[in-house]
C-alpha cells in the first residue's frame, strides 16, 4: 500500500521513513486486532457462563446508572482473569486498546533510533516520558 515519492518533488520528501511507518502500522494493527479478538472472547464467555447477567433488565439499569461493580484495578483484573470472569477479560482487552497508541509511539522511537535519527528518537522518548508522568500523576491524585 505504501508508495514512494517520485518526480520533481522527490527532493522535498525526507529520506522517507518507510521502515518507521511500516513498523508503527504493524504494531497498531496487531494491537487493534488482538484487543478486538479478546473483547469478543469476553462476550462469548459472558454469554455462555453468565447469561443471567446478560439477560436481566435490572442489571442493565444498574450499569447505566453507574451503580454496577466491576474490576477497576490491575490486581482485580488479574484475579478475574484467573477465574475466567468475562468482565475481567473485557477490561483487559480495553486496557490493551488504550495502550496501543503508546506501543505505536514506543515502536516509532525504536525505529527512529535504528535509522540513526537521534533527534526524533529523543522527541519520541520525551513524549513517552510525559505520558508515563501523567500515569503517575493520575495514580497520585487518586
Amino acid at each position: 500500500m505504501t508508495r514512494t515519492s517520485v518526480g520533481a518533488y522527490g527532493a522535498l520528501v525526507p529520506p522517507s521513513p518507510h521502515g518507521v511507518r511500516a513498523a508503527v502500522g504493524k504494531v497498531l494493527h496487531t494491537g487493534v486486532l488482538a484487543s478486538g479478538a479478546i473483547l469478543l472472547t469476553g462476550y462469548v464467555v459472558g454469554l455462555a457462563r453468565e447469561s443471567a447477567t446478560f439477560r436481566s433488565a435490572a442489571t442493565e439499569q444498574a450499569h447505566l446508572a453507574g451503580k454496577a461493580t466491576y474490576p477497576h484495578s490491575f490486581v482485580a483484573v488479574w484475579d478475574g482473569l484467573a477465574h475466567g470472569s468475562s468482565e475481567a477479560i473485557i477490561v483487559a482487552a480495553m486496557l490493551m486498546l488504550i495502550l496501543t497508541p503508546v506501543a505505536g509511539l514506543l515502536t516509532a522511537a525504536v525505529a527512529f533510533a535504528r535509522r540513526g535519527d537521534w533527534l526524533f528518537t529523543a522527541i519520541s522518548a520525551i513524549v513517552l516520558a510525559v505520558i508515563c508522568a501523567s500515569f503517575l500523576l493520575g495514580a497520585l491524585a487518586r
Binding site: 505504501t2 508508495r3 497498531l28
Partner: protein, 297 residues
C-alpha cells in the same frame, strides 16, 4: 432492555461514531457523550470514561491503516505530541483554577471562528488543496522568494514536509509544513483545554494544522487522529483506576468504534478534500454548540 440488547444497540451506534471520528480526526467522543447521556441516561462519569476508550480505539484503528499509507504524518504527530501531552498534564494540574463555563464559552467561540476560516480557505484555494505548498515546493528553500519560505525553516530542519497519495485526485500530493512553532503553541493550548475540560481536542488540533501549518486537510485529520490517541491513553488509565470504565458499556462501544474507524480511515483516502472540509466544519459547529450549551446551561 437487557444487557445483551443494550450491547447490540451501542455496537451499531458506535460504528457510526467511529467512522466519523476517524474520518474527521475528532475521535468519536463528540457523538458518543451526548448520545449516551441523553438517549440512554448513562451516568456522565461513565459516558466520559467510555468516550476516552472510544478515542483510543478510533485512533489506533484509523492510524493502523493511515500511517502505512502516509496519510498520517508520523513526524508531525511525534513532534506535536510534545506539546499536546505536556498540555494535557498542565490541564490536569490546573483543573478547577478557571471557571469551566467561561472556558467552554471561550473555546466554543474559537471553534466557530475556526470553522468560518476553514470554509473561507475552501473558497480561496478552490482548485488545489495544497496550492501555496506546491508553489513553494518548486522554489528552493533558500531562495527566500516564496512567501512561506521564511516560515518553514523549523519544518525544514525537522524534515516535516512530506507527500501522500490522494486517491480522489489519483496523484501524489506533496506539501510543505509552515509555522511549526505557532502550531506547537496551539497544540499546547489544545492539550491544556482537553485536560481541563475532558473534551476531545481534535476540534482544536485539526484547525491548527490546517490553518496555521498549511497541512493538507486529509493529513490534518489523520494526524490529529493519532495525536488524540496518545493524549487519551495518558488520561484513560486514571479513568480506569477511578472506576469510570464499565466493561459492559464500553465493550460494545469499543468493538463498534473499531469497525467504524477502520471503514472511516478507508473513506478518508478516497474522499475529496473539499468535501471532507465541509463535513468537518459541520461537525465542528456541532462541537462548538455543545460547548456553548455547557457555558449557558
Amino acid at each position: 432492555m437487557t444487557i445483551a440488547e443494550l450491547s447490540l444497540v451501542l455496537f451499531v451506534i458506535s460504528i457510526g461514531a467511529g467512522a466519523l471520528g476517524s474520518l474527521l480526526g475528532l475521535g468519536g467522543g463528540f457523538i458518543l457523550v451526548p448520545v449516551l447521556t441523553l438517549a440512554f441516561h448513562l451516568d456522565i462519569r461513565l459516558a466520559i470514561g467510555t468516550s476516552i476508550v472510544a478515542v483510543a480505539a478510533t485512533s489506533s484503528a484509523g492510524a493502523a491503516r493511515n500511517v502505512g499509507e502516509s496519510i498520517t504524518n508520523l513526524r508531525v504527530a511525534t513532534f506535536l505530541a510534545l506539546a499536546t501531552t505536556v498540555g494535557a498534564v498542565t490541564g490536569a494540574l490546573l483543573a478547577g483554577v478557571f471557571d469551566d463555563r467561561l472556558l467552554f464559552g471561550l473555546f466554543g467561540a474559537i471553534l466557530l471562528v475556526s470553522g468560518v476560516q476553514m470554509l473561507r480557505k475552501r473558497s480561496s484555494a478552490a482548485t488545489h488543496e495544497s496550492s501555496p505548498a506546491t508553489q513553494a515546493a518548486t522554489a528552493p528553500a533558500s531562495s527566500g522568494q516564496s512567501p512561506v519560505a521564511g516560515a518553514r525553516h523549523l519544518a525544514d530542519r525537522l524534515s516535516l514536509h512530506s507527500a501522500y497519495y490522494d486517491e480522489a485526485q489519483a496523484r501524489e500530493v506533496p506539501y510543505i509544513v509552515t509555522h511549526t512553532g505557532l502550531g506547537l503553541g496551539l497544540m499546547y493550548v489544545a492539550g491544556t483545554v482537553s485536560g481541563l475540560l475532558g473534551i476531545g481536542s481534535g476540534a482544536l488540533k485539526v484547525p491548527a494544522m490546517d490553518l496555521a501549518m498549511h497541512i493538507p486537510m486529509k493529513v490534518s485529520t489523520a494526524t490529529s487522529n493519532l495525536l488524540i490517541g496518545l493524549t487519551a491513553a495518558a488520561s484513560a488509565v486514571v479513568y480506569f483506576a477511578r472506576g469510570d470504565i464499565d466493561p459492559l458499556i464500553v465493550g460494545p462501544v469499543a468493538i463498534g468504534v473499531l469497525v467504524g474507524a477502520w471503514q472511516g480511515s478507508k473513506l478518508l483516502v478516497r474522499m475529496r478534500s473539499d468535501r471532507l472540509r465541509v463535513v468537518f466544519v459541520i461537525a465542528l459547529c456541532l462541537v462548538a454548540t455543545q460547548m456553548l450549551w455547557k457555558a449557558i446551561a
